[in-house]
Symmetry: C2
């Protein structure tokens, strides 16, 4: 009824007559369905209740909504949810595009998404196979470590985070790589006892920090994969009766809004902007406009009061 090509005039005339009898009203939605473009985008988000994901979603929603698209939210908290999402979605084509927000899509999930024939873009995570907007994790980590090295630290620990529900082969190792690169370039060897690998949890970071403080030679500085981990580490340091940054320096990555309130030195990444720019990328691709398929947004050091030169100099 949308006056589409490929339907014989006589057939159309008959359908229109019958439709009138049934008092059929063409709704914009039903017309779009018939054309195959539904005007909807699915955001697939592993942690809606964490600042970074919320900020990316808020940027995406603002731009997509301005463009007249509806935004469907799919919270895929753990591996089961993700399997369920990738299993259900292809069964009913109800979106024009899927935005994967900051998690690595496993290979089997990739194939499933591709079978749907919808546009897929990635926001805030390095999913090299899809058009994406993200930071350079290796560069962000390097900025943090170069700051600690410049201050004179030589015994630097790393609290490294992995998502247990994420496909190991697909995850970005940039923040880990930065640690090894920076130490090597500074002529320092990696002491494995200074590297603690945990889940993305501040409480786990607090425990990891306790382990670091139980070493015969504790670190003078701690590089954390995100601000939440840094705050966990700082809690342990303070509970031990030590001061930040006088006794130990701590640096994070993110510039979480609470980093400003807790005087945390960090590497800032523009979270909302990654959402906004992913929406622009998605809209341009839907309109088949030429675009840069991989956009890297810059990060920068924000010096506050959690880093200083080491005490012993």
């Amino acid at each position: 009824m949308s006056n589409a090509y490929g339907v014989a005039p006589s057939t159309r005339a008959r359908v229109l007559r019958i439709a009138e009898e049934l008092d059929y009203v063409v709704s914009p939605e039903a017309s779009r369905l018939a054309r195959g473009a539904v005007g909807r985008v699915a955001l697939v988000v592993p942690h809606v209740d964490r600042w970074f994901f919320g900020a990316v979603v808020s940027g995406l929603e603002a731009e997509l909504s301005d463009a007249g698209m509806d935004v469907l939210l799919y919270h895929v908290g753990d591996a089961d949810d993700r399997r369920d999402f990738f299993h259900r979605l292809p069964a009913r084509r109800k979106v024009d595009a899927v935005v994967v927000v900051a998690f690595a899509v496993a290979e089997t999930e990739q194939r499933r998404l591709e079978r749907m024939g919808v546009l897929i873009v990635a926001a805030g995570g390095q999913n090299a196979v899809y058009p994406s907007v993200h930071i350079d994790d290796r560069e962000a980590g390097r900025q943090a470590l170069d700051h600690l090295l410049f201050l004179g630290h030589r015994r630097i620990a790393m609290i490294s985070a992995v998502d247990p529900d994420e496909d190991a082969a697909a995850r970005s190792t940039g923040r880990d790589d930065a640690y090894h690169d920076a130490l090597r370039d500074a002529g320092l060897s990696v002491d494995d006892s200074l590297v603690r690998t945990i889940d993305w949890s501040g409480v786990a970071a607090a425990d990891a920090m306790a382990t670091l403080l139980s070493l015969h030679r504790p670190p003078t500085a701690v590089y954390c994969h995100c601000d939440e981990l840094a705050l966990g580490a700082i809690r342990t340091i303070r509970r031990a009766g030590l001061r930040v940054p006088e006794d130990l320096s701590v640096i994070g990555i993110d510039d979480h809004p609470l980093a400003e309130l807790t005087d945390l030195t960090t590497i800032a990444q523009p979270a909302r902007e990654q959402g906004v720019r992913t929406a622009h990328l998605l809209l341009a691709l839907l309109r088949q406009q030429p675009v840069e398929r991989h956009v890297v947004v810059p990060t920068r050091l924000v010096i506050r009061r959690s880093t200083a030169p080491p005490r012993s100099g």
Copy 2:
């Protein structure tokens, strides 16, 4: 084509025949549209990137998605967005229900929603006109103040937050009322210089705390409307060279995940649970099951390391 009542068999037969010619496939979505129940719920959220809102949304999404509903996200950041949302949505009925997440709906907006004829419920805010799930703001505030009073504080400041985009007449004043009630019940008079009213912003709270510290007689304890404000106040106290809780006590409301990492004493509210229970309420109402239309979830004091008896005793 969904075999509905009210269509003459002969008419139906003709439509089916034509549809076959056109290779029409009944999609679950198109059938639902015809019935008027679209299987979609709109979440209207003022701040997706703040923990409380994200946690409520995550609880809502989990339950609605399990029930086979699609979740549409509408981020209405400021008064303009809200006007725009309430203006656009009624033009096209594309949801079965609207969940208002933690903001007060103005009277004109209420009328607009009602004209849509969709179910409206409120999550995490006291919108007395709609079925809702929320905490008792007055009780939460009272728990915070009774804790400070029990510790022996008599000179207690309040950092009170208002949303500048929220309808003043509709907003909950429970956290303010608690302050006046508690002081009155303790036989104390309110010193207006100890009350600072600001936006919901930690940085604004840091500034408000500086004003409190510039008083001839500063407070010995500060009651903050939320944890983010409490962290802003603590930053100022620490920058002034004072200690929390030895020199000043600070208490918040929320139990934000970072409150645990920053050792903040607070009144905990179950944010995700408010989302989950709102979803249950909504689904029961859609199924026309009998329900309690106003659910109050309890709050509780979590004692950490930001409150202690006043120094001078």
